[in-house]
Amino acid sequence: MRFKYNLKSVTRTKSLMFWGMAFPVIMGIIFNVAFGGLSSGEFNPIPVAVVIMDDMAMISTAFYEALPMLSEVMAATVTGYEYAAELLFEREIAGIFLLGYELELVVNSGGVDASILETVANEFSMTAITLGNIVNIDPHGIIAAVEAMQGYTTSMLQLNLQAVGILENFFYVMLAIGCFMGIHLGLESVANLQADMTQVGARVSVSPTSKLRLFAETVVSNTIVQFIMSVAVMLFYMHVLGVEFGERLGLILLACFFSGTMAVTVGMFVAAITPGRLAAKRNIILALCNVFFIAGGMFAIEIRNLIRELVPIFDRLNPIVLISDTFVSLAIRENLDIFIQNSLTMLGITIILCAASGLVLARRRHANL
């Protein structure tokens, strides 16, 4: 019964659903529309301007985050509105995206480029709306979550772009990103077990049910939610977008499971061992992810190479490196060495962090209010 409510409360938390499921789906659609029938290299990115307005809504933030991933579709420059209008008038760009309370597009009518851009904008907005009414719902929680997540997706992509060509592996990369978002799922759910994190946590703490038991319930339900989201994204890619994952379907599902589960437990572990209230922990997660990104070669692949040389163990255990390498290896490698090695590592990390978080939660008998 509580299991059902755990599932419900997570699946109704729209920011978690957005990043874990809606986002990869939207990106897949756009990608597919832009490259439908085309193979890599035949398509010149469409020049566009992006104008950032005050008061960016979730949809606009998400779009901004997605720009690097759309780099094969559009060559975007961030400019002021007037300059953008001038460029459009002189036909140096094909359209202007206005990122504000809504996602708006201005184009010169007619032309193939304009209609591709229109599709991009429409898909982005429309899919967002249908997938849980994300655009106009209660802004507070979402904005906080988005703020905490800014930078992740962009970085994630850069990382992978450097490793492999985007076109061939785009859908693998998107699956990896969806899995990695499980880190937030983990954080948010431990929040409701700890009196110093949330009010609900306080209520749970004065009840006669042990923390350890509730923790175990949360682990199971979150892992399931995370996995279901990955499967849903994958099914969508396969059956709606017609993506072929080949014979390795089962392995990809396994990769989703190991990656998603590890991401969830990393989030839980961080939530369990760090002090402070929920907002503070969101920031800690953000900082930690930045460390992972940088170490994983986000700004420059040289940094990752350096880390690999100096602290090889850190490179081996960096969750972002683990997840993305696992997926990409399934796409590009004949043998399964990396897949097996990484999966085992992720499983190990999951077990250790799970045990450690449970222990910490059970031993912390008093709250730090």
């Binding site: 009010q199 609900v200 306080a202 209520r203 209010l369």
Partner: protein, 310 residues
């Protein structure tokens, strides 16, 4: 004795929030913990519930030493915290059901209890709404339902009426009385003296982490000097006449501000008659005479030297 707190001391870094506080709660009573903002009420409650670690003291509930893992004690306690604590994503019904499930395993019993709790706070018709769709008063009531659905023997209410409309407030106070009639012992914290006066059978006045006085409201009122306050409007009165008033039996303070005359007296018979007789003899015209018995605010004022309200 249902609850016993003995010499509790709780320090937050440099703030001494609870300072050698002791109290006892008898079965069946409604105990009011009355104190201004920051006096240490919530901290005391959190220590009592073993949510917080305390520096010194001894806490027993149902005659047993309380600790975070005393689930046998916790199962009979209900808590309505000062802040609303519900899942925003679950409906009112689901919220009550979730929290009730932490106490009651049997599904059929729980279903009955949840329905009773929703009915008790009269939000049945909102059972399918999620908390963000509920008004402030309804949300407070849902918060109460979540705390009491498992039919606890001891219920702790920490300022449950803060920031709600008078109608919901009366509703809640009445509900607490009913819970008490049905056998629950209640601890009620507040800084509204009217509520405490109306509701509680015994009151502890708390300030700066200390228990300053305790007793029934009549006992508390008897503790202080003021037994009666007589107020009236007087257009003209001389200083000599004011001094004369002060000489009367039982009178210990006379104030004349603007046209308002306030006379404070210790307890005694025929106080008003004596005052009016004096005024008549002195040919002083007066109007709008009112005689007031002491309020908890007077008690608080005399004990702490400051008003109860911020």
């Amino acid at each position: 004795m249902l609850v016993k707190i003995d010499n509790l001391v709780k320090r937050y870094k440099d703030v001494l929030a609870v300072d050698h506080f002791s109290m006892e709660i008898r079965e069946g009573e409604i105990l009011g913990l009355l104190g201004p903002n920051g006096s240490g009420k919530t901290t005391t409650i959190n220590c009592l519930l073993s949510l917080l670690k305390y520096d010194k003291g001894d806490i027993t509930i149902f005659g047993q030493q309380m600790s975070p893992t005393r689930y046998d004690i916790k199962k009979d306690i209900g808590v309505v915290m000062q802040n609303v604590a519900v899942f925003d994503e679950l409906t009112a019904y689901e919220n009550v059901d979730y929290f009730c499930s932490l106490y009651i395993k049997d599904a059929a019993t729980r279903k009955k209890y949840v329905e009773e709790a929703l009915k008790f706070v009269a939000i049945e018709e909102h059972a399918k709404k999620v908390p963000p769709k509920l008004s402030g008063g309804l949300l407070r009531r849902l918060n109460i339902a979540c705390g009491i659905a498992h039919k606890p023997k001891l219920i702790i209410f920490d300022e449950p009426t803060v920031a709600i409309d008078p109608q919901s407030r009366d509703y809640i106070l009445e509900g607490i009385q009913n819970l008490n009639k049905n056998g629950a012992t209640i601890i009620y914290t507040s800084h509204y003296m009217e509520e405490v006066e109306q509701l509680c059978s015994r009151i502890i006045i708390m300030d700066k982490g200390k228990a300053l006085a305790q007793g029934t409201k009549d006992e508390l009122k008897r503790m202080i000097k003021t037994g009666e306050t007589i107020k009236m409007q007087v257009l003209d009165i001389s200083q000599a006449q004011l001094d004369g008033l002060k000489e009367l039996k039982h009178v210990f303070a006379v104030d004349y501000v603007g046209e308002d005359l306030t006379i404070r007296l210790t307890q005694g018979k025929h106080n008003l008659a004596r005052v009016l007789e004096y005024l008549n003899n002195e040919n002083i015209t007066y109007g709008r005479v009112a005689s007031e018995l002491p309020t908890l605010n007077d008690v608080f004022l005399e004990i702490t030297g400051k008003g109860l309200r911020d």
